[in-house]
């Protein structure tokens, strides 16, 4: 479904990873592992098309990828349902159903303004977006941050159903989500970036 060959990524002019090749088949998940700063987020942003790769190819079917970043993109003045319906309509999908709200335990919060939600509730709302936009390949950046154990369980079961339905996922996470997935250790692909000298910062001001 997603095929990546000889990919190299760059963050702010600093090369991070090179020589990455992997494939994600329908129904399978790939978990990215590596210490902070190795380039998990940059890799996911590159896969999502937000930045061009420095080298290599990414082959994905058109209109199949959904990206979920650290930030949830929630509008505080809109209610939970309005937030979800906005994303559903942007992707040309039907409005959010009660089943989705229950799945993410948002049914009692549906009319609440999103600004009044707790951090974990906001995260659940951000993740529920993935359920209403109908994309096959999910690119998830630390999806379980600020979730409690029960919510992690809910999200893992959502992901499992997504995979069983022929979807796939690339996930940067440090915790065990409790389903079988290939683990990609990023450390071997790390490039030893030359230490920045003070003069390198001039670039930012040109």
């Amino acid at each position: 479904m997603m095929r990546v060959s000889d990919l190299a990524i760059v963050r702010g002019g600093v090369p991070l990873l090179a020589g990455l090749s992997f494939a994600v088949e329908p129904g399978s998940a790939l978990i990215l592992r590596g210490p902070n700063g190795i380039g998990k987020t940059t890799l996911l942003r590159t896969l999502a098309g937000l930045q061009p790769p420095a080298a290599g190819q990414i082959e994905v079917p058109e209109d199949s990828v959904a990206y979920a970043s650290h930030a949830d993109g929630i509008k505080g003045q809109l209610s939970v349902v309005e937030n979800l319906n906005f994303w559903a309509r942007v992707y040309g999908m039907a409005d959010v159903t009660d089943a989705v709200l229950e799945r993410f335990a948002l049914q009692d919060l549906r009319a609440r303004a999103a600004a009044t939600l707790s951090a974990g509730q906001k995260r659940r709302l951000g993740l529920a977006r993935l359920a209403v936009i109908g994309r096959k390949i999910l690119l998830l950046d630390e999806p379980t941050v600020s979730l409690d154990t029960a919510s992690v369980g809910r999200f893992a079961s959502f992901l499992q159903d997504h995979l069983d339905a022929g979807g796939s996922a690339v996930i940067a996470t440090h915790i065990d989500l409790g389903f079988t997935a290939t683990v990609l250790e990023l450390a071997p692909y790390k490039l030893d970036a030359p230490a920045l000298t003070a003069s390198d910062f001039d670039e930012a001001f040109l």
């Binding site: 930030a71 993109g73 505080g76």
Partner: protein, 218 residues
């Protein structure tokens, strides 16, 4: 696209959306002018079209950095950029939403404020016409400036510096249409030029805005 427009309009009119900001600023500027320059009727009538245009332009400028910065800060802009909407359309919709929530109300209150400035009788029509034709250019240019500065902390200053020179042609021809209208002089030429600036801005700048957004979202 319609979903994005409706969301932006809903956000603008709800609490904290800044819908009234430009309008109130416009009102304050125009109300204070007679106090500053004196209540002489001849004097006020002479400067009324220019003051109305200048007030509308500055009021427009005030709300520009909200066009994209809010979506950038909460991560929504990245998610919109990965959604199946062309970024050019996103930029165009953002400009349209800004015009509907800022430019259009300014056009509608301008004749009321014209009374405060002793605007001559024939001027009312032409102030409204010139603002209605000119303010879409202000929104399109402003969206381009907002796209250029979207990733910057406190980008408002830079945004103003970038956008103000680009606003000058619109201001010159817009105020000229209003001035000639108030004096009953022929105004076809500045009106055509004003319309030309607006059409070119609305047609071309969404592409420039989208290109700037792509670079800034990297």
């Amino acid at each position: 696209m319609i979903a994005l427009l409706r969301r932006d309009l809903a956000l603008a009119v709800r609490a904290g959306g800044g819908f009234g900001l430009a309008l109130v600023f416009f009102l304050i500027v125009v109300t204070l002018v007679p106090f500053a320059v004196g209540p002489g009727q001849v004097q006020l009538a002479a400067i009324a079209p220019g003051i109305l245009w200048l007030g509308a332009l500055l009021a427009c400028l005030l709300s520009l950095d909200r066009i994209l910065a809010l979506d950038y800060e909460d991560g929504a802009l990245e998610l919109i950029a990965t959604a199946p909407l062309p970024l050019e359309a996103v930029a165009a919709v953002k400009a349209l939403a800004h015009w509907l929530t800022t430019g259009l109300p300014l056009v509608l209150v301008a004749p009321v404020l014209g009374i405060l400035l002793n605007l001559p009788g024939p001027g009312y029509l032409w102030v409204v016409v010139s603002l209605a034709i000119g303010t879409p250019a202000l929104s399109a240019i402003g969206t381009f400036g907002a796209a250029l500065t979207v990733g910057l902390k406190r980008g408002g200053l830079l945004l103003s510096l970038i956008v103000l020179p680009l606003y000058v042609p619109t201001l010159i021809f817009g105020a000229e249409v209003a001035r000639r209208g108030a004096l009953g002089q022929p105004l076809e030429t500045p009106l055509m030029l004003l319309a030309g600036i607006t059409l070119a801005s609305v047609a071309l700048l969404p592409f420039a805005s989208a290109a700037a957004l792509r670079v800034n979202l990297r």
